[in-house]
């Protein structure tokens, strides 16, 4: 600590160079935070998957008859079943995206604990078919209050009357605790089913809660065996497998992020290393003087490493801080359809990068500072 002032003033000896190097490094850490933030936010969806929850659907997403419900419920090991039809829609303008889930409220709220309703929203939704429960951020964004009458446009859910416009009444709010920004609207399945254009009496997907997560494979196979010879054969998988499959469909995100972050940090390494080397060359005489007045070799090398740590640390804090501020905006720009925030693991990886870049880039100048012979240095410079 007592050398902090020395390190600090060494860093600011060439103001322009340090500021420019710092800004480049800030850009690198900002980019790192943004890319890894998005990547880990998406991956986190796999991590939070419930181990005791299975999804049963047709592989070609053909509608499944409601008649499957009692069959699945009867299966040994199954504790409860709910069902859902999901579709993307919009409110007023196409850009105002909402995710509509047509659900049976009694079954849904009993089985999906991560959706927490506030007040009497649940009871109100049960009371009237037109009542919907909406995610709190969504209600705030559009100024919806309980009792508001709105119309949602849902092209994926065409109606018998030839439109895709669903008039609904806001019953109350919910918090989707695992993905708070998802623009969820929970619609009464009965209302949806009665008014839909086609496929009445069918569902997209069953969610199945099982007693023992270890039995997931057995129960899945048993469910699929039930329907293998029916018009819509099923594929049952764990929520985790479901999440993984959905993510891998988006594309090779990992590869992209790794390639870009790799290129960025390789450049940063060269940049900081070069800046430190320049700075070292200019100050050979000063280092020699420090050694003359009694600084040990290790201390002088430490000063060089300290400067690198300070520079990269500062850049890391600013860059990741900016990413922390910008990420929620990015999530909102996607309409809340994918979450984006800076997780602790990304911050930890960022700290790791600060250390690696600092030490590797300071290696050469620190070594030279360590080896510096006072006499040679003072004579030559």
């Amino acid at each position: 600590m007592k050398y902090l002032f020395l390190v600090w003033s060494g860093l600011w000896r060439r103001r322009t160079r340090t500021i420019l190097t710092l800004l480049s490094a800030v850009v690198a850490f900002f980019l790192f935070g943004m890319l890894e933030g998005v990547d880990s936010s998406i991956k986190q969806l796999v991590g939070i998957a419930h181990l005791d929850r299975l999804y049963t659907a047709n592989t070609a997403l053909l509608p499944l008859p409601m008649a499957y419900l009692p069959e699945i419920e009867k299966m040994p090991g199954v504790t409860s079943v709910t069902y859902v039809n999901a579709g993307l829609g919009s409110y007023q303008r196409p850009a105002n995206q909402v995710a509509i889930f047509a659900v049976d409220p009694a079954r849904y709220f009993a089985m999906i604990p991560e959706v927490v309703t506030t007040g009497d929203a649940k009871a109100a939704m049960l009371q009237d078919r037109l009542n919907v429960v909406v995610a709190r951020p969504l209600a705030k964004k559009f100024g919806w209050t309980p009792g508001s009458r709105i119309v949602l446009h849902v092209p994926a859910m065409p109606r018998k009357d030839g439109t895709a416009d669903w008039p609904v009444v806001i019953a109350g709010f919910c918090d989707y605790t695992t993905a708070p920004d998802t623009p969820v609207v929970l619609l009464n399945f009965d209302y949806f089913d009665a008014a839909r254009l086609k496929d009445r009496g069918t569902v997209q997907r069953f969610a199945v809660k099982i007693r023992d997560p270890a039995q997931a494979g057995t129960v899945s196979a048993a469910i699929d065996a039930l329907f293998v010879n029916s018009p819509a054969a099923t594929q049952t998988e764990t929520e985790k497998a479901f999440a993984q499959a959905s993510i891998s469909q988006i594309g090779d995100i990992d590869f992209l992020v790794d390639a870009i972050v790799g290129a960025v940090f390789f450049t940063l390494l060269l940049l900081v290393g070069n800046s430190l080397m320049q700075s070292f060359r200019e100050r050979i005489r000063e280092f020699a003087i420090l050694k003359t007045i009694g600084f040990r070799d290790g201390t002088v090398a430490g000063l060089v490493i300290g400067e690198a740590l300070l520079l990269c640390g500062l850049a890391g804090v600013i860059g990741l801080g900016l990413a922390r501020l910008a990420l929620p905006g990015l999530g909102r720009a996607s309409g809340g359809l994918f979450p984006a925030y800076l997780s602790a693991s990304v911050v930890a990886a960022g700290v790791g990068c600060v250390l690696v870049v600092s030490f590797v880039s300071a290696l050469a100048p620190a070594w030279k500072a360590h080896r510096l012979a006072i006499v040679d240095a003072l004579v030559a410079h």
Binding site: R17, S24, M34, A60, Q249, A259, T267, S275, M277
Partner: protein, 390 residues
């Protein structure tokens, strides 16, 4: 004056060896920007080309009314049969309309990395081959209608090691043999498997179809087909020109990929501008006395600026070339999968000269931003001070 600029540039470049480190950093930094930008844009373009190539103006795809895409479309067997008699459809030499009723099923199969991927199997009728002359077998033979046989698309084959001619897969509990592989002019169908629609329908207990694709008498005959569909509302079906349908499918992904490319490239470019500024300020500082001397003996200060800026631009171009080469080295021919509906479209990335030129354009912009202020400083260098330092 140009001569003066050249002379100064020669001096600056001659001294580049003394500043090799920082010049290299600038080049590598710009190479990074160009590499990332060019790769992302190539991904977007490749996806666009693949999807756009799938459709033709003289074909139309008919889906159920309101269906946003093929996989969520559902046409009953009777409707699909009736659709073939609509107006505007080209007839073959046998006098029958050239149509293909198609149904889709999806299955999961292990990808190269061992994870499970979604594979689309397209059930087609014999008319499909006449309708799509671009499809040709590259290995094995065509499936026989009525038998449990499939053919696999060339792009899909490279991504799923288990889906090779000679292998067999289990559909609905019974084995289906893969008897051949096909190419389709590099379009989206190469990411699918194909089999006999009737056989697949019976295996999956299905009666309907997802889509009916028809050959149009001419691109203009689409209006006739549309009118014919509208006059029979009981069909509840809509026709779109096939090329427009596929172009619309690619829009979102292209926007996202291009957006990411520009955003990430832009942020990296900002970093590269800082690196370039650093290098060029260092260049001016290290050659300060020399520049001052030249100006003292009558060199134009504008010529000095031009020379400094030229060096920044040269570094930029060098970076752009390096970046484009690296992108080509790593990504040219790299097969990539992008989501389209539920399945993925696989395509090969091509770094085209045009994309490389875009990269050079960006590099020049970075060079100008990074060289301008140092160039101005060089021109304004206080002569007396700079010379005193000698």
């Amino acid at each position: 004056m140009l001569k003066q600029s050249f002379a100064i540039l020669e001096v600056l470049l001659g001294a580049i060896g003394q500043r090799l480190g920082s010049s290299l950093v600038t080049i590598v930094g710009i190479a990074g920007v160009v590499g990332v930008l060019v790769s992302m844009l190539a991904m977007a373009q490749g996806f666009q080309h693949t999807l756009v190539a799938t459709g033709r103006a003289d074909r139309a795809i008919i889906l159920s009314k309101g269906a946003p895409n093929e996989s969520s479309s559902n046409l009953s067997h009777d409707v699909a049969i009736t659709l073939g008699d609509s107006g505007g459809i080209e007839k073959g030499s046998d006098g029958k309309p050239i149509v293909s009723r198609e149904m889709l099923v999806q299955l999961r199969a292990p990808r190269r990395d061992g994870t499970l991927g979604v594979v689309t199997v397209r059930g087609i009728e014999s008319g499909a081959i006449r309708l799509r002359p671009e499809i040709r077998l590259v290995q094995g033979r065509l499936f026989h209608p009525g038998l449990h046989e499939l053919i696999v698309g060339r792009a899909l084959q490279t991504q799923f090691p288990s889906l090779q001619p000679g292998a067999s897969i289990i559909l609905q509990g019974s084995p289906w043999a893969i008897v051949g592989s096909f190419a389709s002019a590099g379009d989206a169908h190469e990411s699918e498997m194909m089999g006999d629609a009737a056989g697949l329908s019976s295996a999956y207990h299905r009666t309907g179809f997802q889509s009916v694709t028809v050959a149009l008498k001419s691109p203009a005959a689409l209006a006739q087909l549309k009118a014919s569909l509208e006059s029979n509302t009981s069909l509840a079906a809509e026709a779109q020109r096939e090329d427009l349908y596929y172009a619309a499918r690619s829009l979102v992904i292209i926007r996202v990929l291009t957006g990411i490319g520009l955003l990430v490239g832009g942020i990296m470019a900002l970093g590269a501008v800082f690196a370039s500024l650093n290098t060029m300020y260092a260049a001016v500082a290290s050659q300060a006395s020399l520049i001052a001397t030249l100006r003292a003996i009558g060199f134009n200060s504008f010529a000095v600026s031009v020379a400094v800026l030229s060096e920044a631009l040269l570094l930029g171009v060098a970076g752009a070339v390096l970046g484009a080469l690296l992108a080509a080295l790593f990504f040219n021919g790299h097969a990539l999968g992008m989501a389209s509906n539920q399945a993925q479209i696989f395509y090969v990335i091509q770094i085209t000269p045009r994309l490389a030129l875009t990269g050079v354009g960006w590099a020049l912009a970075i060079g100008i931003l990074g060289g301008l202020f140092p160039a101005i400083r060089a021109a304004r260098l206080p002569l007396a001070e700079a010379l005193r330092a000698l």
